[in-house]
Symmetry: C2
């Protein structure tokens, strides 16, 4: 059998596993796996450093299927390579409840899925983040320990999404030469030909951002190999524009949108078998083809063993540090550093905006935790995310620990996901809280994938003042609290900021948002306690001496308002308790008794927060008093806005007394 024939049979194994699985599931996307099978075969059998016997090998090449609807490509490849996770049974159960083989690739559903994809464009930006993490580790630990490539397969849809521009322009700027993007240029999207909706010269577009580019026939294995070989040698990221036929091999449906997202049907399946000379039953891969794939799968074993030798040969400190970072454990000194700073804060009682508090805390964190990589979407001086430890990463030098992300909130959040998925670094970054909307699709995926990424989001309310309603979050607290497995923190002072930062770093399975003020805040807790009160999500900050008449719940900058109101109410003989609520999600994880104790006290319940009411009924009931926002904000100095919107201690006092009939 010629090499070419051998290749075709190996590629056809992908095609039929994919088409058969879609057929059995009665839903799915056969078009991409059939069209990109040649690319995947060449990439995985000749280039990818990926050892299926050690799929968590830290120095493996990463492959991201950005066009996630083609998930069967990934499952088929990993079955063929010899994955323990992606067995034939799994493939037969494609898209069924409990199977690893979900409709779109789900991170955590088996080794080989480096990231969850499906929402278009995300995989490309994830890959940029992975390549950034690789390069940072390579320049930090040396090529002996980190020296691999990141490959991404993207579709037309990925390239039409705006996030693709943020990702590719950053990658070009940073000269991420180990990033190789293969564009499955099949010219078809769901509505028909791509030419119905887009006329962009993608090659020219990538070149405009400094990429190496090459155009090839995506069904020619020699051309694919040559392009990949050249791409690995480039000093810039490379786009391989691979012209393919969607649904390659299906005689009547290939090359059209009909084959994108629906089963081929029995008749076309039979015709495809005939056309490609594949005389095998559904899910049956002939032994000789499977053997060829399995041999290719073992190909990287030697490289992996050599890497292990290099790791073993490294000095103990380097090895230990590298392994710790890859495991994702925090350094042993972290807790002590937290406590030392906490004592200092209790002694100093600093009055500052929580964004400044965050900078102050980061000074400790970035010293104690060398794997943090900070950044900001062009708001460094406003987000206060940079400290003396974090020198800038530049195209020439990746030993730094600070990324000037540019005005690319979405790309930033998605690349941070890629950094976290890669491992060895803990990414945090900054923007204004209102622009969480721009980053939201990527933030959702971080929650779904259970990744430790930390978003410092400042200017967290009308308290930002004059910039006005376009810049003032109102609904964002609720909207972010709504995302499952995302912790939204709104600390009230420097101590709470420290505690929330500690929790965010210790949450290895949960992304975090820290919502921080522009305006100054006085301490709400003045004595040192080792215990992290914020860990319980909500806690009694100021109790009443007697059984409370009133409980006031508040977060962030409004805790001060609650305390002021308490002083007045207590002065008037009304027993008042203040509960600080830095994190509703953590509160929900406490015991029922604890929750009842926090929520239960007081006949009158008031919540104060400079956002909308949604979420607070959980604390105050649907008959509770809510002092907050009921509309968008406005442009004015912040003191005027708090007055204008009636978020004042006076409003709390008046409403509480009225309810009590006093």
């Amino acid at each position: 059998m010629s090499d070419l024939e051998k290749h075709h049979r190996m590629a056809n194994a992908i095609r039929f596993l994919a088409a058969d699985a879609v057929e059995a599931a009665k839903s799915g996307h056969p078009g991409l796996p059939m069209g990109a099978a040649d690319i995947a075969t060449v990439l995985f059998t000749q280039f990818m450093q990926y050892d299926p016997t050690r799929p968590d090998w830290p120095d493996r090449d990463r492959f991201v299927l950005s066009a996630g609807h083609g998930s069967m490509l990934l499952y088929a490849v990993h079955y063929l390579l010899g994955s323990e996770d992606f067995t034939l049974d799994q493939i037969k159960n494609f898209r069924q409840l409990g199977a690893l083989t979900a409709g779109h690739p789900e991170y955590g559903h088996g080794a080989g899925i480096e990231t969850t994809t499906g929402p278009l464009g995300q995989g490309l930006a994830n890959a940029v983040g992975m390549a950034m993490a690789e390069r940072h580790l390579r320049e930090t630990f040396g090529a002996e320990l980190a020296d691999h490539h990141t490959y991404a397969l993207v579709g037309d849809g990925c390239l039409m999404e705006g996030i693709s521009q943020e990702a590719l322009s950053l990658a070009g700027h940073l000269k991420l030469s180990r990033l190789i993007v293969i564009w499955d240029d099949n010219g078809i999207s769901i509505d028909g030909k791509v030419s119905i909706t887009d006329s962009t010269n993608q090659i020219a577009r990538f070149e405009a951002s400094g990429w190496e580019t090459v155009s090839i026939d995506g069904h020619d294995p020699i051309a694919i190999a040559n392009a990949l070989r050249a791409a690995r040698e480039s000093d810039r990221p490379t786009l391989i524009a691979a012209k393919t036929t969607i649904g390659f091999g299906a005689p009547n449906k290939a090359g059209s949108e009909k084959v994108h997202g629906a089963p081929l049907g029995a008749e076309e399946m039979a015709a495809t078998r005939k056309a490609l000379g594949w005389n095998h039953e559904p899910f049956d891969v002939p032994a000789e083809v499977l053997d060829n794939w399995r041999i290719a799968g073992l190909r990287s074993g030697q490289a992996r063993k050599e890497w292990e030798k290099r790791l073993a040969a490294a000095d103990a400190e380097t090895r230990g540090e590298f392994e710790r970072r890859i495991r994702g454990d925090l350094p042993s000194g972290f807790t002590d550093a937290v406590q030392a700073l906490k004592k200092q804060i209790a002694a100093d009682k600093p009055v500052m905006a929580t964004r400044k508090a965050s900078e102050y805390v980061l000074g400790m964190i970035n010293e104690a935790v060398p794997e943090t990589i900070g950044g900001s979407a062009d708001l460094t001086g406003s987000n206060n995310t940079r400290t003396k430890q974090t020198t800038a990463i530049t195209p020439e030098d990746f030993t730094g620990r600070y990324v000037h992300w540019g005005i690319r909130e979405h790309g930033m959040a998605s690349a941070m996901n890629g950094m976290a998925l890669h491992g060895g670094v803990i990414p945090y970054s900054g923007t204004f809280l209102v622009f969480s909307d721009y980053a939201r699709p990527a933030m959702r995926l971080s929650a779904l994938m259970r990744q430790r990424v930390i978003h410092v989001m400042t200017h967290d309310s009308i308290g930002l003042g004059e910039d006005g309603p376009t810049h003032q979050p109102v609904e964002h607290y609720a909207a972010l609290r709504a995302i499952p497995n995302l912790d939204f923190y709104r600390p009230a002072d420097v101590t709470e900021t420290l505690e929330c930062w500690q929790l965010a770093l210790e949450s290895s399975q949960t992304p975090s948002v820290l919502a921080l003020t522009r305006q100054n805040l006085a301490p709400v807790r003045e004595t040192y306690e080792e215990d992290n009160a914020c860990a319980r999500g909500a806690y009694v900050l100021a109790d009443s001496e007697n059984e409370p008449d009133v409980t006031i719940f508040a977060s962030g900058s409004e805790v001060a308002i609650a305390l002021e109101a308490r002083d007045v109410l207590e002065g008037d003989g009304i027993a008042t308790r203040v509960v600080s609520v830095p994190c509703m999600e953590r509160f929900e994880q406490q015991s029922a008794d604890y929750q009842a104790d926090i929520i239960g006290g007081g006949t009158v319940k008031v919540a104060v927060e400079a956002g909308i009411r949604m979420g607070w009924d959980r604390f105050i009931g649907n008959d509770g008093i809510f002092i907050g926002m009921h509309s968008f904000g406005a442009s004015a100095p912040f003191e005027a806005l708090y007055e204008h919107f009636g978020i004042t201690s006076k409003a709390v006092v008046t409403a509480a007394k009225e309810r009590l009939g006093r």
Copy 2:
């Protein structure tokens, strides 16, 4: 005085009004107005067809300040042109409570602000939508009635945001030759030089999407005029890359990030006055300069009068129809058409997915309301947004009424805002509900600007099945309900779908989302009633004969589950009422009595919705029973998912009985 000197003094009037206002407000962005003053002067005094005496003239040129932080440019220009809204008093009150002169330009704060900007990139995409609306009206009504240009001034930040790629690639594809984008290429962003974060050749990038481009010195009035003149003649959209100095004229701070977003300070203000030879007090514009501006302001009066003559000369039907569309009134026959279809539905009792119901209803709407322009972000066959009336808009022919938006959810939503702001059309479009996250920044702005844009968002729950958690909305109901002045509808059957569509179209000040199912639903209401029950947001769908023991609240596809549960409970002698909740926002606008009546009934309250609990405590209290999602979804056939996540009538019955102790 030479023409050049005259120009400089006119431009300097902008510079000093802006810098003085920022100085007085002690906050704001002097850099852009000072840098782009020459561009604005040439554009507004020589090119813009904009009559300050009739700023709502429908055929005026549109100007969008996409770099909205430079708001003082806009306020200064309109004051100088003779705006009735932007007086000197307003400018002196820049960024103060109640002033029209907000920190960022707010639509509705005075004529001349064509859209709210600030979140970067939005203005560019708005401008694309405006140019689309203009061309549609021009090709529909003729150039006698619609024949104008759309100008946008964008900054480096706008071009770094991903939405810019969606907008520019669409504009290039559609050959929007009346769109002229001026890039204020000052090379500075907040973190410093743009070269820190980006190396993109923007000219090459725009050319890759089919734009005409030209590079000029943005301080040379002749070059600016020549470029604008050429751009108006091009058969493609034009990018004018205007090299400028941020903060032009400030001797020590110009050309650096220091002048971007902070007052210059007294000393630098004095130095700038000296450098530019501007010997006038703050806010003082010499009479000769003001005269020159005011004369320029009157320049378009003649063009406007000629347009009015042409309108008067048009046949009565055309004129009436044009004026109706511009007013935004629905056609007189609309209500009758709604009622006729409602009767038909009551007679036919169709079982269908609400996405199909929407298509069915759109068949009536698109016939009765000729100003609708539909579309989909490459999911036409899934969103069911196209009907026989809506032929496709193409680069060659804009008489159509359907936009193949491509995979550009964010650009689509933002361009729809531009279309609505332009007037004369009612845009609606489609994507999957989960991808509302991609469109969210633009959706927020539609709510803030009170624009009638309608988002058809299908595949609205785990009911979409196999595509899995990346495609299954869970938190999106809450997240969208959280946005002020956005109506989120989740109809339960064909009749409710019709009612919600009617409400969305009749809400001229509020954007709407229609969340629609992929799976089939049976009718929940079978008899014709003229009254639009969905208008109340929540209503009793099935009452109990006796005082209810249980009230079940539900929306969309879960209303059927609620009705099933009611049958079982009533059969067991438990009086049960079902409340359909198609729109929580409308419910909040009802009288307190109505709300109490809806919420008050029943000792046990249950809510059923295939999303998270957030928002439902308002109905069921914090001790109510919630049957819904508590996590992300999963990939499986939808029936299996409803079982797996326990969203079943059995779960409702069991929980209600347990609570009742039966």
